[in-house]
């Protein structure tokens, strides 16, 4: 006796990594400039930022059919980037040496003639790099991506209370670091208050 019954829906071919997912490449090209900046803020290093960004896109690609239907695919990849970055940090923190050395890019953050902005970016990057990973992510997601506390909590997979406390601690450290720049000519005391 042989009985054929329908199995549940097969995992579609589109669930397997394929570079031809409809609309994916266009989305990458449209979103990558901004997401690259986010990656740079999360990592503090251009090469690591590019690696993080590509890795995050590579994780989205197999699920693009679903992710593309989300209200905000960017919100999903925010979460992927934060998780990836935290995961990398967990794996590497035994070897990675924290340094106050400022990436070359940060020196060029301002345009010529904007000396204060250059120094500010230099100090800000050093301060960001000095933050624990979760604090850095919370600050960047809240204050650069403009996510709400709830959205940040979802991206970081933690509670809103944790977002509040983590962001608060991160901001306190940034303010302390940035207060050095307020002594510079032209710096605004009100910045970061």
């Amino acid at each position: 006796v042989s009985r054929e019954v329908n199995g549940e829906a097969a995992i579609p071919r589109s669930s397997v990594a394929t570079p031809r997912a409809d609309g994916f490449e266009e989305w990458v090209r449209a979103s990558s400039p901004r997401l690259r900046r986010l990656a740079y803020l999360l990592t503090g290093d251009v090469d690591q930022a590019d690696d993080l960004l590509q890795s995050a896109y590579a994780k989205v690609l197999p699920r693009w059919d679903k992710v593309s239907a989300y209200d905000s695919p960017e919100a999903y990849i925010h979460r992927v980037m934060v998780n990836l970055r935290t995961s990398w940090w967990r794996r590497s923190r035994g070897r990675e040496l924290s340094t106050d050395e400022v990436p070359e890019a940060a020196w060029r953050a301002g345009t010529p003639g904007e000396g204060d902005a250059v120094v500010e970016s230099q100090v800000l990057m050093a301060a960001l790099r000095g933050l624990p990973e979760r604090q850095r992510a919370a600050v960047v997601l809240r204050h650069w991506c403009d996510l709400s506390e709830a959205e940040t909590a979802k991206a970081m997979k933690c509670s809103i209370g944790t977002v509040k406390s983590t962001t608060s601690r991160g901001l306190a450290q940034l303010r302390a670091a940035m207060s050095q720049t307020t002594d510079l000519p032209g710096a605004k005391k009100s910045d970061l208050q």
Binding site: S2, A9, I11, R36, A49, A58, N83, A109, L124, L192
Partner: protein, 283 residues
């Protein structure tokens, strides 16, 4: 974004735009390359995880006992020609591709006390692919050949070919469930099939199951985000809590089978993963 009045936003934005000055080529080749590497890595992790499950499962007696002493592999064997006395796959019609075994296990699926043969079948041309890498095939089937002579086939059509992750008794009724692992990209799905008294049916996560844990009717795994595995205490899923200090703290759910529904129960306490590749345990 409407954050221009936030001085910190302005400072961060100036800093973030510094990266625009750095060259950035076409990201697509790198993305595609990484996606392929992820697929290979997940496949490798799945195989490794299953091997670990086998040891744990046997140690805890989680497998179905066979009164006749028939050895019951807890895990899928590597693809090979069946050596069992179970019936061979049906002869294909002239229009049908010849199907061959991709994976196999033996367990008492219908509860009659005798081991049945569980096969994953794919077209003959695909069957030589090893189970250590994801295989997408045009025709994927699960076939269970009962010791009494009957057989049941479940067709998945085109898609990922699963490996047999294990054959635990998830509802404690003395019959083995079949847990298949579909892995592809940087993700994997565990799907459960159970005997309903007449045939084998797919078990579905119950309505209201934690959304992160389920996808496409299966228990979802995505590296660093959510994981599911068959361990000595059954089928579990876990997600990071956000506390990434050592040990890695996770929230854990155990899946119970109720009829053909998988019901998740959250563990009372957070658990810890002591080192990469291990399963959650009390902290």
């Amino acid at each position: 974004m409407n954050n221009t009045k936030d001085p910190l936003f302005e400072a961060l934005d100036r800093l973030a735009r510094a990266v625009d000055n750095e060259p950035f080529g076409d990201p697509m080749p790198g993305i595609t390359r990484k996606a392929r590497a992820n697929r290979r890595r997940v496949a490798a992790l799945t195989v490794g995880g299953v091997a670990a499950v086998a040891v744990a499962g046997v140690a805890a007696g989680a497998v179905i006992d066979f009164p006749d002493g028939t050895p019951e592999p807890e895990i899928a064997e590597t693809p090979s020609v069946s050596q069992t006395s179970a019936p061979s796959p049906p002869t294909p019609s002239p229009n049908e591709p010849s199907m061959a075994e991709y994976d196999q296990a033996r367990a008492d699926v219908d509860g009659d006390g005798a081991a049945d043969t569980i096969r994953v079948l794919v077209p003959e041309a695909d069957a030589g692919a090893g189970t250590d890498e994801s295989l997408v095939s045009d025709d994927v089937r699960l076939q269970i050949e009962f010791a009494a002579g009957a057989e049941v086939g479940l067709g998945f059509g085109q898609g990922l070919a699963p490996t047999i992750a294990g054959t635990p008794d998830l509802d404690g009724n003395g019959t083995a469930e079949v847990v298949l692992s579909f892995s592809g990209g940087d993700a994997a799905w565990l799907k459960v099939f159970t005997w309903d008294g007449e045939t084998v049916v797919p078990a579905q996560p119950a309505n209201g199951s934690p959304a992160d844990l389920v996808d496409d009717g299966g228990l979802y795994t995505e590296a660093e985000t959510v994981s599911s595995a068959l361990v000595d205490r059954g089928l579990i899923s876990w997600v990071p809590t956000g506390d990434f200090s050592d040990p890695f703290v996770v929230k854990v759910w155990t899946w119970q089978l109720d009829g053909a529904q998988l019901v998740a129960t959250e563990a009372d306490q957070l658990q810890c993963i002591m080192s990469p590749g291990q399963f959650p345990e009390p902290c």
